[in-house]
């Protein structure tokens, strides 16, 4: 077994040193009638080649995004990741280290976290950011819980433009924790009115921009309404690249920001691991969930970094902690930091413009297809199509024709009469030929 260094001679010597006659003696506390005397009914160990064959066979049953024209978004986005990002995150010292509990020998991870927090704060225009949460959906739950702690109120209002998986996750947590959750109906055309629903019981209003249907939303007036009634505005996003081009949530008045950071530095990975981004106004620091890295000095007066304010956390405060989170998304946050360090403002702005330009081009081409309507007045790199017929069937037929065309809205919001809607995303990875193929194939599929 290639991963186990001990051989039988070692084992015999070690057992003798310990003073037991066999390994079974060390497992003597397991109730005798429950012990497994033989190996379970599972396959035997395998060499690398055999394992590779098995995984290659599984991989071959999937259609990889890079192998076909690909237009799927809905909370996870395919972008080009510079080769150096994956190389750097596989440095042993990043890949195989633990949470930096011993700062003297963890400055690499800690400084990268400090850079990450600085980048997230700058990108979202917020004052402080933490060292990451699991993903955008769980970050949204943490934001709602934080708003509840800050305001002492139990009600949360959820926009119909929030990603449905995020809204469902919020609903689950709310039901379990006795929170009063008002989830508005799917807001396909971004016309809902949230401000008048805020009352004296409202802890927070949770909105998303670009929203699930792709619309850009200006929350600044809603932020004023929240402030007037003592509620907090939680701003959610699923596409971080957008903030290279559009106003960030901090500028639009958000008190807490929760988002998905996958689209910078991280692959699609069939849905995980992703990267929860979390930022807030500085006055709410002590109510933040998750790890926070801070700057300090060592004994020799050198600038150093360390995990700090841990009296908020579960390993110190137990049931009184601000969150139960322990493991976060360390390596995904490193990938984000490296990719964003390569881009810089100049690169991110240009990347975002390319995304927008590609999406505008695609929208114009698709709008020209008979029977297709684009619902969005505004969007970044994703928008909603309306077709005559069932978008789920359309997507299957487009896939058969070799194009991954988007996400039928009814897959996430079934049984609500939204069968005709299709979410379509176009990033910098799509070529002119991809978009032309989409329009042409769509026309063919619709007309037959």
């Amino acid at each position: 077994m290639r991963y186990l260094p001990l051989n039988d001679e070692d084992r015999a010597l070690m057992l003798a040193r310990i003073g037991v006659k066999d390994i079974a003696e060390l497992f003597a506390d397991i109730p005798p009638d429950k012990r497994l005397e033989q190996a379970l009914d599972l396959p035997c160990h395998k060499g690398e080649m055999e394992v590779e064959r098995q995984f290659s066979a599984l991989a071959a049953q999937n259609i990889a995004a890079g192998s076909v024209p690909f237009f799927i978004g809905a909370g996870a986005y395919r972008h080009h990741i510079p080769a150096s990002v994956d190389h750097l995150i596989q440095r042993s010292e990043f890949l195989t280290s633990y949470t930096p509990y011993q700062p003297e020998i963890s400055q690499g991870t800690l400084q990268a976290l400090f850079e990450f927090q600085s980048e997230v704060a700058e990108l979202t225009a917020m004052e402080i950011a933490n060292a990451s949460l699991y993903d955008g959906s769980t970050a949204t739950v943490e934001a709602a819980a934080m708003a509840r702690r800050i305001t002492g109120r139990r009600k949360a209002i959820v926009s119909g433009g929030l990603h449905p998986h995020y809204a469902e996750t919020l609903q689950t947590y709310a039901a379990m924790a006795g929170v009063d959750l008002l989830r508005l109906a799917p807001d396909v055309v971004a016309t809902e009115s949230l401000a008048e629903r805020i009352d004296q019981e409202t802890a927070c209003v949770i909105v998303q921009s670009p929203d699930f249907f792709g619309h850009l939303r200006d929350h600044s007036k809603l932020a004023e309404s929240c402030r007037a009634k003592g509620a907090l505005l939680v701003a959610v996003f699923t596409e971080a690249v957008a903030f290279g081009l559009i106003e960030p949530p901090g500028t639009l008045g958000a008190d807490i920001v929760a988002g998905e950071g996958q689209s910078i530095g991280n692959r699609l990975n069939f849905g995980g691991p992703y990267l929860g981004l979390f930022a807030a106004r500085a006055q709410y620091l002590r109510q933040m969930p998750g790890r926070i890295c801070g700057e300090t000095l060592d004994r020799d007066g050198r600038r150093s970094f360390t995990l700090t304010l841990s009296t908020r956390e579960q390993h110190i405060r137990r049931e009184k902690a601000t969150s139960n989170i322990c493991t976060n998304s360390g390596l995904a946050s490193l990938a984000f930091t490296i990719h964003l360090s390569l881009l810089g403002s100049a690169g991110l702005r240009r990347l975002a413009r390319i995304n927008h330009a590609n999406a505008v081009d695609l929208a114009e081409r698709l709008a020209a297809v008979p029977g297709v309507t684009i619902l969005n007045k505004t969007f970044f790199n994703e928008f909603t199509l309306r077709i005559k017929g069932d978008a789920s069937e359309l997507v299957e037929r487009m896939a058969e024709a070799g194009i991954l065309a988007g996400v039928p809205v009814s897959r996430l919001l079934p049984g609500q009469g939204l069968e005709e809607f299709l979410l379509v995303a176009s990033t910098e990875v799509n070529t002119d030929a991809d978009r032309a193929a989409y329009a042409k194939t769509l026309q063919g599929v619709i007309s037959c």
Binding site: E50, N62, A76, H165, R299, L342, K377
Partner: protein, 515 residues
């Protein structure tokens, strides 16, 4: 570009005489500025062509807020992050004996498999017909987990161990609600020795925590559990092997008591690596248990994550599992994603379908080991921990007396106190010897705990050196060489940090000194 804490260009004092260098570097060990000090806002390390003119659709929301992110060319970025990496300890550099954290070797085959385009470049919302291989992989991993634990069903959604705890407790709450007992059973019993996540998770699902004291020999007393149980109790959360590195040998009796009181038995599976293939939690009466794939099945810890925490469930709890879950229909796998199709499910706990990238790694680990190798891994982990114990027990104090342990051995600082030293001082001196310290001050139930988990991937030679070095340090303690410990670490990239300053005066992001 000079760093604010670095030197001025003209050395004003005789640096060498003070043991300093002009650069602040020491040989291969390099000081490194922040990206904000190295990069420039107008630069970028990614070549992108400006798009041709087009009519934008931003509705007046174009970013006017300044965006001051430094850009680094690829050589600058690579050097920056490689230099940072060299300031980290890592398993690949040496033994990483953090008790309760299971820092074992991370096979590189698993990394390679997770990067196959057919597994890494697939979208969670692709048509299910285009991801049958991925669904097959998830089903395969779930099957292995069910067989290894002797449990009925597996919830794959949780993002980490603590998220698995939340998931398990939500399942229990849903089961209680189905019995009409949601209001009456609001208490979760948590032993004093539990991970901090246990009580925090219980509170997160709106349960109240009732603490159960440990017995003097480090394991849980069925009598204490019985005293804590009542008609108001929903569950017991117990780690087994426990955080003291001991197997809860009365676990079956405890499980029976919990069930007799109408409650469920949640097991924290953080230490499942010790009993893989030796005993199945399902046979011990466990109703729900999360499994940290990043511990037991060796997905890399990555400096703090990501992890994955699937939850195995008994037949009684299986109907309440969260969405999504897999169903086999007409020779195809289908993900059931919506509650409309799963009326008993308690709901959704995160977007999409779980930590797939980590499922790939964990499954590759399982297939490589096989049923035989996993059992051997558990045996070697326990053997290694006991070998370390045998090598150190005459010099270091054991809180629960002279008894064998499971996969980790617990000492405490009692033996250090007469010399005016703490567990932390000893830990920092280990750094100077080139080792990552053991876990200190956890579990909280033992004062000045020092918890060592070597894992099965350490060779005997590695353990022999580790033991010899710790013995040498212990003898130095006994000789009263306290200064060596108080001054440690001396040879690390940093000496001890001013943690109070960090917390009192939080500086949590880079601030441009130029304003």
């Amino acid at each position: 570009m000079l760093m604010p804490h670095g030197p001025s260009l003209e050395p004003a004092e005789p640096l060498v005489a003070e043991g300093k260098t002009f650069t602040g570097n020491r040989g291969l060990e390099c000081e490194e500025g922040l990206i904000f000090e190295i990069g420039r806002i107008e630069n970028t390390g990614v070549d992108l062509e400006e798009p041709p003119p087009f009519s934008e659709r931003l509705g007046g929301l174009e970013r006017k807020t300044p965006l001051r992110l430094p850009g680094l060319s690829e050589p600058e970025a690579v050097r920056h992050f490689v230099r940072l990496s060299r300031q980290n300890y890592a398993i690949d550099l040496g033994i990483y004996p953090l008790g309760s954290c299971t820092m074992k070797h991370n096979p590189r085959l698993n990394e390679a498999m997770a990067r196959l385009p057919g597994l890494a470049e697939i979208h969670p919302l692709q048509p299910q017909s285009s991801v049958q291989g991925a669904l097959e992989l998830i089903a395969g991993l779930a099957r292995w987990l069910a067989i290894l634990t002797g449990m009925e069903a597996v919830a794959m959604a949780p993002r980490a161990g603590a998220h698995g705890e939340i998931c398990g407790l939500m399942v229990i709450k849903a089961a209680m609600a189905a019995r009409g007992e949601a209001q009456g059973r609001r208490i979760v019993l948590v032993p004093e020795s539990a991970h901090g996540t246990n009580p925090a998770s219980a509170a997160g699902v709106d349960f109240e925590v009732r603490s159960v004291p440990a017995r003097a020999d480090g394991i849980l007393d069925p009598v204490a559990v019985k005293e804590g149980l009542g008609p108001d109790v929903a569950a017991l959360m117990l780690t087994n092997p426990n955080t003291c590195g001991l197997f809860e040998k009365q676990i079956v009796e405890i499980a029976d008591l919990v069930h007799a009181a109408g409650a469920y038995f949640y097991c924290d599976g953080a230490n499942f690596n010790a009993i893989l293939g030796k005993v199945r939690p399902g046979d011990l009466g466990v109703d729900a248990m999360h499994i940290n794939l990043h511990k037991t099945f060796s997905t890399p810890h990555g400096g703090g994550g990501p992890g994955a925490g699937p939850v195995v469930l008994s037949g009684r709890l299986a109907p309440f599992a969260p969405v999504p879950f897999l169903r086999r229909e007409k020779d195809q796998w289908r993900l059931v994603e919506n509650l409309g199709e799963a009326p008993n499910s308690f709901g959704r706990i995160a977007a999409f379908h779980g930590q797939f990238g980590l499922f790939v790694r964990a499954y590759a680990y399982m297939l490589s080991h096989g049923g035989d190798g996993l059992r051997r891994a558990a045996e070697d982990a326990v053997l290694n921990a006991n070998y370390v114990r045998a090598g150190l027990k005459d010099l270091m104090s054991e809180p629960f007396g002279d008894r064998s342990c499971m996969h980790e051995v617990l000492f405490d600082e009692t033996w250090l106190k007469p010399f005016g030293l703490s567990a932390l001082d000893f830990a920092k001196a280990m750094i100077d010897e080139g080792f990552h310290p053991m876990t200190v001050y956890f579990p909280l139930v033992v004062h000045g705990a020092m918890l060592i988990e070597p894992t099965e991937t350490e060779s005997k030679a590695s353990l022999d050196l580790f033991i010899a070095a710790l013995r040498d340090l212990a003898l130095a303690v006994r000789r009263g060489e306290t200064k060596r410990f108080e001054a440690a670490p001396k040879w690390a990239p940093r000496r001890r940090l001013d943690e109070t300053r960090a917390a009192r005066n939080p500086v949590l992001k880079w601030v441009n000194p130029a304003g």
